[in-house]
């Protein structure tokens, strides 16, 4: 009888722990899924596959936490796993149906909007072109930095050192700044 009680108490404790864990992952999912989805699209995944991959990433997070993995920065962990999983999905997808977000086309279209909005879109389009001119590694570092990851987390996601991340980010910023200077030069002329 005593043994049964101990088992029941233990089961109750485990259940409560599991529920807390699920709530934690669900909250993270709701907060972060759009960012991860966008990152995976930028990585070149088809929208449907990106959405599936997002879900997969959060289930892996749940699994890892349940196994007792000590995850200091869940956001960093999520993007690292999303990056690695995304690359695998993209490799499978490449042969079947490569995806191009076609951002430039989308940004360049719509000419019937008010002038201010048009100018804003033009600015985003110019920045997008400058962004596309970066090396892949610079783009990845910058995108992950925009998502709020620290240098060591970005390095961990991309398999490079934190100092290399700093270098890539610096080069990216120099090129983007150069692009902005050129744009403002044009506007002044």
């Amino acid at each position: 009888m005593l043994a049964l009680s101990v088992q029941l108490v233990e089961a109750f404790r485990l259940d409560r722990t599991a529920t807390a864990l699920q709530e934690r992952v669900t909250k993270l999912f709701e907060e972060t899924r759009d960012d991860v989805y966008r990152y995976l699209l930028m990585l070149g995944l088809q929208p449907a596959r990106a959405q599936e991959a997002v879900q997969e990433v959060f289930l892996r997070l749940y699994q890892a936490l349940k196994k007792g993995e000590d995850i200091q920065s869940p956001r960093g962990w999520i993007f690292r796993v999303a990056h690695n999983h995304g690359l695998k999905v993209r490799a499978r997808q490449a042969a079947e149906d490569p995806f191009d977000a076609g951002l430039e086309l989308q940004l360049a279209s719509h000419s019937d909007t008010p002038e201010r909005e048009l100018l804003e879109r033009e600015r985003v389009l110019e920045f997008h072109r400058a962004f596309e001119g970066l090396s892949d590694q610079q783009k990845r570092c910058l995108t992950l930095r925009m998502e709020g990851l620290r240098y060591n987390e970005i390095g961990s996601a991309l398999g490079i050192s934190a100092s290399a991340v700093g270098e890539f980010l610096h080069r990216a910023m120099v090129r983007l700044k150069k692009g902005r200077d050129e744009r403002s030069g044009k506007e002044k002329r």
Partner: protein, 552 residues
């Protein structure tokens, strides 16, 4: 402040401007402690650097705006986000679905297995201790600090040596030291007031994010019958590439130390035997014998040494930073104990940038020369060749129209030129650092080399895609197709780079014939568009293969 000065960070008007990279790390909160305070103080005083920070912040703001705006142009998720709750149950079930024996037997055996694991671990530890006194650097430093505190603080003289200066001072002195040494200690976040002490080394050691620091026992450099612990620390990041401290095994007192920097600078601090403290006068000359320095690696830069392959790599890296390793106009070689840098007809602003980057490096000699005038007849011949080669381009020109074709040709040739620049830069590295040379490089040098290679390959891959996307629509429209071919499977990156070069040269030759830049050697005009696409595809595959080898 010029752009180049701001990017690299140079001493101006008697104080040090942090480089733009450092400022970026600063605003990103990636610099901590003493250095962060130093930059903050500098920014308070320096309008120029504040301006540089503001410009960086504007670019950051552009990025933030871009991130905010871009979702509006991206496709929304095709389905509503599903509830994870059901999926959690699936994961739980899968995790619970481990083999029956595992669930039943493992809890019973778990304590026993854990006990066995502990015993095995103990056995390994005991074996290690018996085999060699593998002392951990952190433990050793801790002991040395305790011993240092217990000793009477009798000041003695040490000699501090940098690339350009050598001076003596008393230990733990507050006297000023030459600016170069002060700057180096500051860059390293190392206590320059008392460099030759276990405490200073330990404080620096503990501030590192991660490091590798093997300890070995070596003979005392001055009294070979005695021995020293030699701690060599290789930080994973930061300005310092390696640091060494020698501690006497008898009483743990520090006898010699050295900090080596990624830009090849160094600062060495050595105990002067039997010398009084000398009053801490930085200019004083002390004749006492000096312990010989113990370089951390065989090819470390020491004053007076001739140039090494490591110096040559540093030159390539510096040229890479300013993009001067592209275009093949600058040649780098090792000769007469120096890294010789030169080129013919290099643009004057490029020459200036090269001087700016390399003048401070040791054992480097720079010499540029002007090209000889090309005889007019040679130019005439080139024009004739161009005219004679017009045939294969006709179909494209007919299709696109003359003006559009010229625009198309210029765009393709420009992209191809950048492809060749990258390919030749890769070849230079492959031939300068063959397998046997690369294997002799230190881990930080090897990392620097691989980073450069990855950067070149990433650009190359992008540029090949660019040429492909320019050509594919027009050539497909006139019936061109890609012929499937195998890829040469080099097993080391050096041989794979040669394959990349062969493939890119083939692309260049075929493209220039297709676009009427050079005459066709034989009649291949019908097959040529397909040959061009095939050669480009080969180049892409070779590049991918080489990239995968670099990443191994």
């Amino acid at each position: 402040m010029s752009e180049a000065v701001r990017r690299k960070g140079k001493r101006m008007s008697g104080f040090q401007h942090p480089g733009e990279d450092l400022l970026l790390r600063y605003i990103d909160g990636e610099i901590a402690g003493w250095k962060r305070r130093q930059i903050r103080r500098h920014l308070e005083a320096c309008w120029q650097c504040r301006g540089a920070v503001e410009e960086l912040q504007q670019t950051v703001a552009d990025c933030v705006r871009y991130r905010k705006e871009i979702p509006a142009y991206l496709p929304a998720p095709p389905r509503a986000w599903s509830d994870l709750a059901g999926e959690f149950a699936r994961v739980d079930a899968a995790m619970a679905g481990e083999p029956f024996w595992k669930r039943f037997v493992f809890p019973v055996l778990k304590p026993a297995l854990a006990g066995m694991a502990v015993l095995a671990l103990l056995a390994v530890v005991i074996y290690q201790f018996e085999k060699a006194p593998a002392v951990k650097a952190a433990v050793l430093l801790q002991r040395a600090v305790v011993a240092e505190s217990a000793r009477a603080a009798a000041p003695h003289a040490i000699r501090i040596r940098t690339r350009n200066a050598s001076f003596t001072r008393a230990t733990a002195s507050h006297d000023p030291i030459p600016a170069e040494a002060e700057r180096l200690f500051a860059e390293a976040h190392y206590n320059g007031e008392d460099p030759l002490s276990a405490r200073s080394y330990m404080e620096w050691h503990n501030s590192l994010e991660s490091q590798d620091d093997p300890v070995e026992t070596v003979p005392d450099p001055v009294v070979p019958s005695e021995s020293c612990y030699r701690i060599h620390t290789v930080p994973a990041s930061g300005e310092v590439s390696g640091a060494t401290l020698l501690l006497s095994t008898a009483d743990y007192h520090a006898v010699d130390g050295m900090l080596e920097f990624r830009d090849r600078n160094f600062v060495e601090f050595t105990e002067l035997m039997g010398s009084p403290a000398g009053g801490g006068n930085a200019a004083a000359r002390v004749e006492s014998p000096v312990r010989p320095s113990v370089p951390s690696r065989s090819d470390a830069v020491v004053p007076g040494a001739s140039a090494s392959i490591s110096d040559q790599l540093a030159v390539y890296s510096a040229l890479h930073q300013i993009g001067a390793d592209l275009g093949g106009s600058i040649e780098v070689s090792l000769a007469s104990g120096k890294v010789m840098v030169g080129g013919v007809g290099v643009a004057s602003e490029v020459q200036q940038r090269v001087h700016h980057e390399l003048d401070s490096l040791p054992n480097v000699s720079i010499q540029f020369s002007e090209p000889r005038a090309i005889p007019a007849a040679a130019l005439d011949n080139a024009e004739t060749a161009r005219a004679a080669s017009a045939a294969p381009q006709t179909r494209l020109e007919d299709r696109l129209g003359r003006v559009e074709f010229q625009r198309f040709r210029d765009a393709v040739l420009k992209s191809d030129e950048t492809v060749m620049d990258r390919a030749y830069a890769l070849r230079t590295l492959a031939r300068t650092f063959p397998v046997e040379v690369e294997s002799g490089l230190s881990s930080s040098d090897r990392r620097m080399l691989r980073d450069m290679l990855r950067d070149h390959l990433s650009h190359l891959s992008k540029q090949v895609s660019e040429v492909q996307s320019l050509l594919q629509p027009s050539l497909s429209a006139i019936g061109a197709t890609v012929q499937a071919r195998g890829v040469a499977e080099g097993t080391v990156w050096q041989s794979s780079v040669e394959d990349v070069i062969r493939a890119s040269q083939l692309v260049e030759v075929r493209l220039s014939v297709l676009l009427g830049v050079t005459p066709a050697q034989n009649s291949t005009s019908t097959q040529l568009p397909s040959d061009v696409l095939t050669a480009l595809d080969d180049l892409r595959l070779q590049t991918d293969h080489c990239t995968s080898l670099i990443s191994q």
